[in-house]
């Protein structure tokens, strides 16, 4: 490695090329160039390795460097080729990092501007406004160009400088959305829907294929759904439509909450206490294989009022799913956590509250998502067989009364509402389990 002194001009040019310093004042660049050094490296030279002390920052003046993240960093793309104007070796600027996150090797002969990180930070700290802005831009550049998870890429807060704002929720979402838009995914998705809807439209209304002829066509359904005066009485403009939706949602809510209130504690107990499980599980397993709809006549006999019967059926399905998944969740908790708690002096009920319940929560929520799906499934079936009002009822009667487009409206509505409730459960889970969201974010890619 050759050191070339007195190349102030070249140093400042290199700084200008890079993203964080592009708009910096001449004075700032001068100060930084004073502590920086230009070094030449040969092709194949090893600049630094992962895990070493992160003391210097590098800007590529010319040539090309290969930058490979170590696996634990969780970068989406571990390998990156950096050309002129690129910045690397910035680990020292991050919160809580003092070791290199990656290894860097020159793949072409290169000239690098080497800046000691601590000196850089001191200079930035002494520049009240500009300093914070430059740090900010470092943060943005790192997140934008290096695909590391956001939580890792938080730059240090300069002491004495005005607090730069942490990446807010909103900008995080915006960042994620921008990543998504840049990927091929949304376009493929549109192709998929186009194919699906296109085939439906063509098969039914244009080509009039044999089996498809009698089906309600896409345009017919859409027109009906959005018409202020629907032929068959149900559209987004009719009050009746929302009545049915509300009735179904209300039933599902009752059934689901009841099932969760009973199923989670039962599952927790069955997983936690082998004795309890020995007594209760056999009965549970005897009743579970009976399909929910096989209960319909019995439910009608038991409850007389169809409303309670319908809710009971939805409840039953949901209950079994929740209890079972909760039990499995408790059983899946790593034994080490329980042992550690015992070592630390926790009593039985403390272990239950501080280890078992939080530990089982991820599984419980997976179970709840399954459970709400099952709840809808049973509700719709029950409504089709013996209900008044509700989306299942709508679908059934529409068929009977030969109102075919309404069938599809009912189905599509069910799909949307079902998805929405499932998403609600998932969001509730994410909210309760912040730690998991972050852990998963760090391991993405």
């Amino acid at each position: 490695m050759e050191v070339q002194a007195g190349q102030e001009h070249e140093a400042r040019a290199a700084l200008r090329e890079s993203a964080p310093f592009r708009d910096a004042s001449e004075r700032l660049l001068e100060r930084i160039a004073a502590v920086a050094r230009l070094v030449r490296v040969e092709q194949g030279a090893r600049i630094y390795g992962a895990g070493e002390v992160a003391d210097d920052l590098y800007i590529v003046a010319s040539g090309r460097v290969e930058h490979v993240f170590k696996r634990e960093v969780g970068a989406r793309e571990a390998l990156k080729r950096i050309g002129p104007g690129g910045v690397f070796g910035w680990a020292g600027l991050l919160l809580g990092q003092s070791a290199r996150l990656a290894s860097a090797t020159a793949v072409e002969p290169a000239t690098l501007l080497r800046i000691p990180a601590e000196d850089l930070v001191k200079i930035l700290e002494s520049e009240p406004v500009e300093g914070a802005a430059v740090m900010d831009r470092f943060g943005q550049m790192i997140q934008r160009d290096f695909t590391v998870p956001t939580f890792l890429a938080q730059v240090r807060r300069l002491s004495g400088a005005p607090l730069t704002e942490e990446m807010s929720r909103f900008s995080l979402t915006m960042y994620r959305i921008s990543l998504w838009v840049k990927s091929p995914r949304p376009y493929l998705m549109m192709i998929g829907f186009a194919i699906f809807l296109g085939t439906w439209y063509l098969a039914v209304e244009v080509w009039r294929l044999p089996r498809f002829r009698d089906m309600p066509g896409l345009t017919v359904v859409v027109k009906e759904w959005l018409s202020p005066n629907p032929t068959y009485g149900l559209s987004v403009y009719t009050a009746e439509y929302y009545q049915h939706i509300w009735v179904s949602i209300w039933r599902v809510t009752q059934a689901f909450f009841l099932a969760t209130a009973l199923g989670v504690p039962l599952g927790l107990l069955m997983g936690w206490s082998p004795r309890f499980k020995e007594y209760v599980f056999p009965i549970f397993e005897m009743l579970r294989p009976i399909p929910i709809l096989a209960w319909v006549p019995l439910a009608i006999v038991m409850f007389i009022a169809t409303e309670s019967a319908v809710i009971f059926l939805a409840f039953l399905a949901s209950f079994f799913a929740t209890a079972l998944n909760t039990m499995l969740g408790v059983q899946s908790i790593d034994e080490s956590y329980v042992r550690a708690a015992h070592c630390l002096g926790a009593k039985r009920w403390q272990v239950f509250r501080h280890v078992i319940i939080p530990g089982a929560l991820p599984f419980i929520f997976t179970g709840l998502q399954i459970s709400i799906g099952v709840c809808w499934f049973s509700l719709v079936a029950a409504e089709m067989v013996s209900g008044q009002y509700g989306l299942g009822y709508v679908i059934n009667t529409s068929y009977v009364m030969v109102r075919y487009p309404t069938i599809i409206i009912g189905m599509a509505t069910l799909g949307i509402v079902g998805y929405a409730t499932s998403a609600l459960v998932r969001i509730a889970g994410d909210y309760l389990m912040q730690w998991r969201v972050r852990e998963l974010a760090l391991s993405e890619g």
């Binding site: 493929l188 294989p289 399909p291």
Partner: protein, 291 residues
């Protein structure tokens, strides 16, 4: 820590299980006979309590209307030597098998395709996910309109029920294959087809088996529902048959004991098929059996 200890523990578990089942049956029996004993003077206060809830007092709510286990057992014995009963079993099994096999035959390759090709995944998966929240039974009317025969319509519904579960499990299973297996294969010079045959397929097999076991459960749900709906509950007419129809028929005909007989029969049928699948699963994935 001798072998006897392990056997002792198992015996205890079994006894506990049997005891609780026995208690369950006894409570059930007593509860359903409440028409008889609730009228006795001693239970005056209990009747008042029930009345306070605004319910009828000549039997216990809910459980009082259920037929007693003893009556159910008697009815079952009565039905066991009727050909019609076993015919129902046969028809239900037929539908389950048909729908399930179709779901496997189409679902597994479809799932593998989605797992292997990013493009295919990007195109198909969003549509797949949008249609998934629609319960299979909501497809019944559309299915009946579309398919020429009732039988095909029902089988399509059972197919749908299992199809979703299987695909999701296959995709999930393929995704979770450790990336290093792929790298190892590539470094040993394996072609894409080799990798598919020797890594993706066996690696996904456990998830396929789990997915099919769950899918089997759903299939039974759907078959029973479809049988009840098409054979009984609504005017969708056509031939009935099958255990679901058996139950509905019993209800309509007023023999409530037979309802429970039907329920238990389906429970057994469903359990047996799931267990068969699970054993098949362990047979097909011997490497998971160690430990």
């Amino acid at each position: 820590m001798a072998a006897g200890g392990a056997r002792r523990i198992n015996a205890r578990v079994v006894t506990h299980g049997l005891v609780s089942i026995l208690i369950f049956l006894v409570l059930w029996e007593v509860g359903s006979r409440s028409k008889v004993w609730l009228a006795w003077d001693a239970f005056g206060p209990l009747r008042d309590l029930i009345a306070a809830f605004g319910l009828k007092t000549h039997y216990l709510p809910w459980i009082g209307a259920v037929p007693a286990p003893s009556a159910v057992f008697k009815a079952w014995m009565g039905v066991i030597d009727q050909a019609g009963y076993w015919q129902s079993w046969y028809m239900s099994f037929q539908r389950v098998l048909g729908g399930f096999v179709a779901a496997m035959l189409i679902g597994i390759p479809y799932g593998l395709m989605l797992a292997v090709s990013r493009t295919a995944h990007g195109i198909n998966f969003p549509v797949f996910e949008s249609l998934r929240p629609i319960p299979p039974l909501a497809w019944v009317p559309a299915s009946i309109i579309f398919w020429p025969t009732q039988e095909l319509a029902i089988m399509f519904i059972t197919f749908l029920g299992a199809f979703y579960t299987i695909v999701i499990n296959v995709v999930g299973g393929a995704k979770s294959i450790d990336g290093r297996f792929f790298q190892a294969a590539q470094s040993m010079g394996a072609s894409k087809w080799d990798i598919f045959k020797r890594i993706v397929l066996p690696g996904t097999l456990p998830s396929i088996m789990v997915g099919s076991a769950v899918g089997m459960g759903i299939t039974w749900e759907v078959v029973v529902a479809a049988e009840m709906i098409s054979g009984g509950g609504s005017q969708m007419g056509g031939s009935g048959g099958g255990l679901g129809f058996f139950i509905w028929n019993s209800y309509v005909g007023g023999s409530y004991e037979q309802i429970v007989v039907g329920m238990i029969s389906i429970g057994i049928a469903g359990y047996v098929s799931s267990e068969l699948l699970r054993s098949l699963g362990t047979y097909v994935t011997p490497w998971l059996r160690v430990r």
